[in-house]
Amino acid sequence: MQQTASSTPIVSLRDVQKSFGSLKVLDGVSFAVERGEVLAIIGRSGSGKSTALRCIDRFEKVDGGEIVVCGRRVDLPDIDLRALRQDVGIVFQSYNLFPHLTIEQNITLAPCSVKRMGLSEAKALARKVLAQVGLEEKIHAYPEQLSGGQQQRAAIARSLAMQPKVMLFDEVTSALDPELTGEVLKVIEQLAADGMTMVMVTHEMGFARSIADRIVFMHRGKVHETGPASILTAPTTPELVQFVGTGNLKS
């Protein structure tokens, strides 16, 4: 695997193993993400890509191998989960905004509770991150009053408010129709342009090609092929040829 060898990576997985019962989901997965880099994980459903992502934030415990995130050993049992999750922001496919809170309260909850930020400061922060995702006018709305795309952008804003060092995106546009997908991808594109380190699991091949610095193609729990975005247009393994050839690569 090729890497820019200069600094220590923000996220690194080495020979990660994970099974659900008798099903081996991750079979020796290794990759690393440098500061400011955008890594896209692609692959079929069931290839282990979401599991690999969730291991980074320790939503799944690994059976073997080593995961280091922002200098912390995530695979060890004594990991400080709350410290880890202050460094890592995660956005889910199903948005998971808190339905009983307004968008503003959704955003200020963690900075106020976890970082003990004052309410007025947190509210100013909420306005700032909502401006970043173009949703200032929805600050007092409840999640159910927003469209799917708006909810997802609000969820990204909520994550940004914790000022994470790396953001994880778990198929964040899979629940959206193409029109709404565009507005969410635009927000992510802007984040990438601002230098945010990101790991995203995505089915949007065109998007992955245009935004990702590096692609990890997962197949049967292994990193099957990895390289710059150009591997999507010139894949070398037959599996990736087949995967991108099945009409996935629309731009």
Binding site: I90, F92, N96, P143, E144
Partner: protein, 223 residues
């Protein structure tokens, strides 16, 4: 002996009805507090706490309220712990209600979608913060209709306290009947008073349920 139903009889029944309400409130408040602890224990991260609270719930739910009342009033007295009828009835109902409310509320907590827990975890909230600020506010919405519905059961079940000599509505009806020998009229009145207490709650519970159904938030991952 004998005579006609007069205003004094009705006042006596009214007094009994007040005690039915009082005993219901004691059961609801005592059982509510204990039930809340049970519900939290049932979803505790500690296995031993979960098992212990589950055993408590099974034990109480598998025992007739009448037996709990007899144990509390006659049983404990026989081994030297004498309680007044009110204390025995209040304590027995509290035990009984805590097991049922604990289960209703456990179910409500667990029916908050799992991704809500994960989203809160992902934001570095502590377990207590997740519970207080994310899960419980949503669980309370889910729990309200069945809890109000269960209050109807509590009111009706307080009638069992009559067997330990506690003069609530049922017992006062028995006393009035003992002097009048008009069981049909007296117990019809008793039934009507219970109904008048329970029916508004039933209606309220149904109304809450309909309102919940309408306001349901779509926060689950699409299938």
């Amino acid at each position: 002996m004998g005579g006609h139903l007069n205003i004094n009889h009705l006042l006596f029944l009214g007094h009994g009805a007040l005690w039915t309400i009082g005993l219901s409130l004691i059961a609801l408040i005592g059982g509510g507090i204990a039930g809340f602890v049970i519900a939290l224990a049932r979803v505790s991260p500690l296995r031993s706490v979960r098992l212990l609270s589950a055993a408590y719930v099974q034990l109480i739910q598998g025992t007739p309220l009448l037996v709990i009342l007899f144990l509390g009033y006659f049983g404990l007295a026989a081994i030297g712990l004498k309680m007044s009828p009110l204390a025995a009835a209040g304590a027995s109902l509290t035990l009984y209600v805590s097991a049922y409310l604990g289960e209703i509320w456990r179910g409500s907590i667990q029916s908050v979608p799992k991704p809500q827990w994960e989203a809160a975890e992902g934001l570095a909230l502590s377990r207590t913060q997740r519970m207080l600020k994310v899960i419980l506010p949503q669980a309370i919405r889910i729990a309200t209709p069945p809890t109000v519905g269960f209050m109807v059961q509590i009111i009706k079940n307080t009638s069992l306290a009559s067997v330990v000599g506690f003069v609530e509505l049922m017992r006062s009806g028995q006393i009035v009947n003992n002097s009048l020998f008009e069981p049909f009229i007296v117990y019809a009145i008793i039934a009507a008073v219970y109904f008048a207490m329970c029916y508004p709650l039933s209606l309220f519970s149904q109304k809450l349920e309909r309102r919940m159904g309408r306001g349901r938030v779509n926060n689950l991952a699409p299938a």
